[in-house]
């Protein structure tokens, strides 16, 4: 299977993504039942059949999302598939973060299992032995032993461990960019660099607010060859000047402003908006390139996040205006 085949398949999948109007229509649903009914006419219909509670709906949405990712991975081959596998490992990292937190909180195997994303072949680690670990230390030993992730020997808190996992993920991902077509590498690097920049800026602001210790910030800022250098960020952290961050990184202004205002959830939404803006700007020239696959992957994740967000906001009976504020469009 060639790269062209993959791109063609993605062109086939892309029209099946929910349109802006459909998402807005779903956001106006009054009950979860109405939301499920409206979604039943789409790809989600089959899995959502019989889903009544929020947990059931969330699980069904995740399952459909994962199935779509699996289908995409199946359509890829060779070096492209290796890169995609490296990219999709982010869901394994998310699972590992959940496992570590739950293990730290002494949760049972069943409790943890219920929360996990059904990653299966998208991951590189066998999760069962980690789940069976008696405590956090044992779980960490298993992860270290797998040699897939380089975890620090001593970590004072979970945040450092989580960041170590993400550091490994991004390092492997940047390394795998060489597996993608030459003409796409620059854009891909920039795209991944954006994600790392946003993570690093978050750490900088949290350190300036003294939520994270300055000594920890060094461990938490990820090296970014495609974005703001680590050394520059560390010097900015020392100066503790939020205004300077706004001035220097005006591309991320929206994200930084929301973060500074204390609404971190809005900053998270803004993060996806920034990524989407970047990808959408490249859309027309990259229409028949590998980057189109990346655009589809991002759109798919945004669709999943939007649907999950709508279901949860309906559950909390948020007004429609508040629900639309939560959407990434």
């Amino acid at each position: 299977m060639s790269l062209t085949y993959l791109i063609c398949r993605v062109h086939g999948y892309a029209p099946r993504l929910l349109t802006r109007d459909m998402i807005l229509d779903l956001a106006s649903a009054r009950t979860l039942q109405e939301f499920v009914e409206k979604l039943s006419r789409t790809d989600y219909g089959q899995k959502l059949e019989g889903a009544r509670t929020l947990t059931e709906i969330e699980d069904s949405l995740t399952e459909v999302f994962m199935n779509k990712l699996r289908a995409l991975l199946k359509a890829a081959s060779g070096r492209t598939q290796t890169f995609l596998k490296a990219y999709l490992r982010r869901y394994e990292v998310q699972n590992l973060v959940l496992v570590l937190r739950m293990k730290a909180g002494k949760a049972s195997e069943k409790e943890i299992e219920r929360l996990l994303i059904p990653v299966e072949e998208l991951g590189t680690l066998k999760i069962e032995p980690i789940l069976k670990a008696e405590n956090l230390e044992q779980a960490l030993e298993i992860i270290r032993g797998s040699k897939r992730y380089l975890l620090p020997e001593k970590a004072e808190n979970i945040l450092v461990l989580e960041t170590s996992l993400w550091k490994d993920y991004y390092a492997a991902l940047l390394k795998n960019i060489s597996k993608t077509p030459l003409q796409d590498r620059k854009d891909l690097k920039k795209f991944i660099g954006l994600e790392i920049d946003l993570h690093n800026l978050k750490i900088c602001l949290l350190t300036m607010d003294e939520i994270i210790k300055s000594s920890e910030a060094k461990k938490l800022i990820i090296r970014n060859p495609a974005g703001i250098p680590r050394r520059r960020l560390l010097s900015l952290v020392k100066r503790r000047a939020k205004d300077l961050l706004l001035e220097l990184f005006h591309n991320y202004r929206g994200y930084l402003e929301k973060f500074i205002s204390g609404e971190l959830w809005l900053a998270e939404i803004e993060k996806y908006k920034i990524l989407k803006r970047y990808v959408d700007a490249l859309r027309i020239p990259k229409f028949i390139n590998f980057f189109y696959v990346m655009k589809y992957l991002l759109d798919l994740e945004i669709e999943y996040r939007n649907l999950r967000s709508i279901a949860i906001s309906i559950y909390h009976e948020l007004p429609v205006e508040a629900r639309t504020r939560l959407l990434i469009m």
């Binding site: 973060v97 959940l98 739950m102 909180g105 949290l206 909390h316 629900r323």
Partner: protein, 206 residues
């Protein structure tokens, strides 16, 4: 009122002493009632303010929870909540106010969100922590109001009983006994007079 009524001066004096004691008790109970009313009024005002504050805080917390939940999903919220190591531990100590035992709640241990929560959940966790503290204070005030109100009700019953039943009945009994004693002393006086008159008459005949 059941008591062995004896129409004697000694009993009358005893009754008067008792009445003085009951009147003093009535006065004291009235003072206690007034003080309890004052305390209750003060605490009710505080309770109302606190309740309003908590209602607003809960509303804000729910809004923040909904936003964080919708943005990050259920897994994130559930896994983050697991990171809180300590559980809430309270100590309830009885405190006496005007002889009424009211509970005073002391927080021995409370989970510290800043030590464990991921940064994006921290604001929510801090809000929840503040609300828990306020709710404990509110529960303490509510228990205070309940106990004081119950004691006030009992004190009121006692004051009314003394005012409307005990004191009037004592007064009536004292009056009755005084009347009877007065009447019997008058009778005695008259009897002595008649006897004296008869003796004087007899002496005159002799």
């Amino acid at each position: 009122m059941s008591m062995g009524v004896r129409y004697t001066r000694g009993f009358l004096l005893d009754l008067k002493r008792r009445l003085t004691f009951v009147r003093d008790a009535h006065e004291l109970l009235e003072m206690k009632r007034d003080q309890l009313v004052r305390e209750l009024k003060e605490v009710i005002e505080k309770f109302k303010e606190m309740r309003e504050k908590i209602e607003k805080e809960v509303e804000e917390l729910h809004r923040e929870l909904a936003m964080v939940h919708a943005t990050y999903g259920s897994q994130e919220i559930l896994s983050s909540s697991r990171l809180l190591k300590e559980s809430l531990e309270l100590e309830v100590i009885p405190k006496s106010i005007m002889g009424v035992d009211v509970p005073e709640v002391r927080i021995k241990k409370i989970p510290k969100p800043e030590e464990a929560c991921p940064p994006h959940i921290l604001k929510l966790a801090k809000m929840a922590s503040t609300i828990i503290r306020d709710l404990i204070k509110l529960a303490e005030l509510e228990a205070f109001i309940e106990r004081i109100a119950e004691d006030l009700r009992k004190t009121n019953i006692r004051v009314n009983a003394l005012e409307k039943v005990v004191i009037p009945s004592y007064e009536a009994l004292i009056k009755r006994i005084s009347d009877i004693i007065d009447q019997s002393s008058l009778e005695e006086f008259m009897r002595i007079k008649i006897v004296k008159k008869a003796l004087a008459k007899r002496r005159a005949i002799r």
